[in-house]
């Protein structure tokens, strides 16, 4: 079996938003729609203050709350764990958006552009199917599927790897198959202490945060 998962090493992340920008590029999302973004979290009181940078986005949960509530079955879960949205089924009710504890979903009613005048780089990739429906991180599923079909290893071979992982300049993001005990992600989880966001909700995220050596 395959279970795709992503890892963010909080020791490495510097909050630079390179992954945020590369996701915008790779997925041609409209301004403000950040399927991947990095939070700037501050904890404590002066002078005992800590600050961490936390990549967030769809966690591709084992028990996705979004899937249960979706009235149209537009949101589905693949056997390999990736949670998908069929834009053509979606009615844009945003129920999934309020069901998501990670605020990973977006809905853009109309085509929006960076500046008042649309740019060629935007119009050439404008996909009306994504308007007025729910959208979110897909783990760059098209790249993964194409890569696997071509015999590449997602998370290792860049052409088969999510754009954010490719772009990360501190090597904070990793991607791979949790069901393979020798994969990069399995190794990272073995060698480091980790947690998942909002674990107590029982969503079973496919997204792990590393924070220290094991």
């Amino acid at each position: 079996m395959t279970r795709w998962a992503m890892i963010a090493d909080l020791r490495r992340c510097v909050g630079c938003q390179t992954c945020t920008a590369s996701c915008r590029h790779a997925n041609a999302t409209p301004p403000g729609v950040q399927w991947r973004r990095v939070l700037d979290m501050e904890v404590g009181e002066y002078p005992d203050v800590k600050r961490a940078f936390v990549p967030v986005g769809c966690q591709h949960c084992e028990n996705p709350p979004c899937m249960d509530v979706c009235p149209t079955t537009a949101t589905k879960q693949r056997a390999d764990g990736i949670v998908t949205i069929d834009y053509d089924l979606c009615i844009g009710c945003a129920y999934c958006s309020v069901a998501c504890p990670y605020q990973a979903r977006y809905k853009t009613l109309r085509a929006t552009f960076a500046y008042a005048t649309p740019m060629a780089s935007e119009t050439t990739r404008q996909d009306d199917a994504t308007l007025a429906v729910a959208t979110k991180c897909t783990f760059c599923v098209d790249r993964i599927d194409a890569g696997v079909a071509a015999g590449r290893t997602p998370g290792v071979d860049p052409e088969a790897t999510p754009a954010c992982v490719n772009a990360c300049i501190s090597q904070a993001l990793a991607f791979g198959d949790l069901d393979d005990p020798q994969s990069n992600v399995s190794t990272l989880l073995r060698e480091n202490r980790h947690f998942r966001m909002h674990e107590e909700l029982g969503t079973g995220p496919g997204f792990y945060y590393l924070w220290d050596r094991a």
């Binding site: 090493d9 909080l10 020791r11 403000g32 950040q34 973004r37 939070l39 700037d40 979290m41 501050e42 904890v43 800590k50 961490a52 936390v54 967030v56 709350p65 899937m67 249960d68 509530v69 979706c70 009235p71 149209t72 079955t73 537009a74 089924l89 979606c90 009615i91 844009g92 009710c93 945003a94 129920y95 958006s97 309020v98 069901a99 998501c100 504890p101 990670y102 605020q103 979903r105 809905k107 009613l109 308007l131 007025a132 429906v133 202490r193 947690f195 966001m197 909002h198 674990e199 909700l201 969503t203 945060y209 590393l210 924070w211 220290d212 050596r213």
Partner: protein, 282 residues
């Protein structure tokens, strides 16, 4: 419609996915359902049945039309019924046409449909409560008390509206006023239980909004209407006093649901159970 960018960040923020149009669905749906139940139980017939049934259907339809207006792809609205297996929205959407049909039939004079309509109305408002509870992104919504609170409030609001309608139609049912009184007490007790359950889990702005609504629910939504109902029992002008009590019951219930969706609907935000160790622990 342009909206300000969501203040996305580590701290909870008021959700903006569902706006007043969605709130209106819960507001109208709840009181419409309750009104249909009250109409059926009142045992009236003729205009005294048709009027509340009609108003109930109108409210339900208004709520559904309102939420329809919020859909991104309204032309695909029929897809909403595809997933009754897990989605309370699908179930709500399946119950709605049946409810409306039965209620209209009852209003048209087929009185036996009134009880079926009442049962479907309970199902409908319960679906709405479960819908909100399944919204796991919003701490104030995903509470187990929400469905029963929605049902209780829907009934209180609907029974209240019945008295407002009855003031025009002249329908009488003394025990309904007593039932309204009981429902008001049940509602506030359930609300207090719900609020206690939430405890400190709410963002302070959500808590402030909810508590304000709760205070209104207690005073304007329970104590004052109870006083009005009590005086209606002994004073002349009873129908109008009861109507006033009923309108307060309905308005405060609506206000609570609107607050829940629009002012106390904060996301959970993000939390780190462990902070990263950058090099060495300090």
């Amino acid at each position: 419609m342009s909206r300000a960018a969501t203040p996305y960040g580590p701290n909870p923020w008021q959700q903006r996915h569902w706006d007043a149009r969605a709130a209106a669905n819960f507001v109208c749906g709840g009181m419409g359902s309750g009104l249909i139940v009250a109409a059926a139980l009142a045992g009236a017939f003729g205009p005294a049945l048709a009027a509340p049934m009609g108003v109930g259907v109108a409210l339900i339809a208004l709520g559904l039309a309102s939420v329809f207006a919020e859909l991104g792809r309204p032309l695909r609205a029929a897809n909403v019924v595809i997933n009754p297996r897990t989605s309370w929205m699908s179930r709500e959407a399946l119950a709605a046409p049946l409810l409306i049909a039965c209620a209209l039939a009852a209003a048209a004079g087929y009185a036996s449909f009134a009880y079926i309509a009442a049962a479907l109305a309970l199902v409908f408002v319960y679906c709405q409560g479960r819908m909100v509870q399944a919204s796991r992104g919003i701490p104030a919504w995903r509470d187990p008390w929400v469905p029963v609170l929605f049902v209780a409030s829907g009934l209180a609001e609907g029974f209240g509206l019945w008295h407002a309608v009855a003031a025009f139609t002249g329908a009488r049912a003394a025990w309904l006023a007593a039932a309204l009184g009981v429902l008001l007490v049940v509602r506030i007790v359930l609300y207090r239980g719900y609020r206690r359950q939430l405890g400190k889990a709410l963002h302070r702005d959500a808590a402030a909004a909810l508590d304000r609504s709760g205070r209104i629910l207690l005073w304007a939504g329970t104590l004052v209407p109870l006083a009005l109902l009590a005086s209606a029992a002994v004073l002349p002008g009873a129908p109008w006093l009861a109507a006033a009590a009923g309108l307060l019951a309905a308005a405060t219930g609506a206000g609570f649901k609107a607050t829940l969706v629009l002012r106390a609907g904060h996301t959970q935000g993000f939390a780190l159970p462990h902070l990263p160790v950058r090099g060495v622990a300090s």
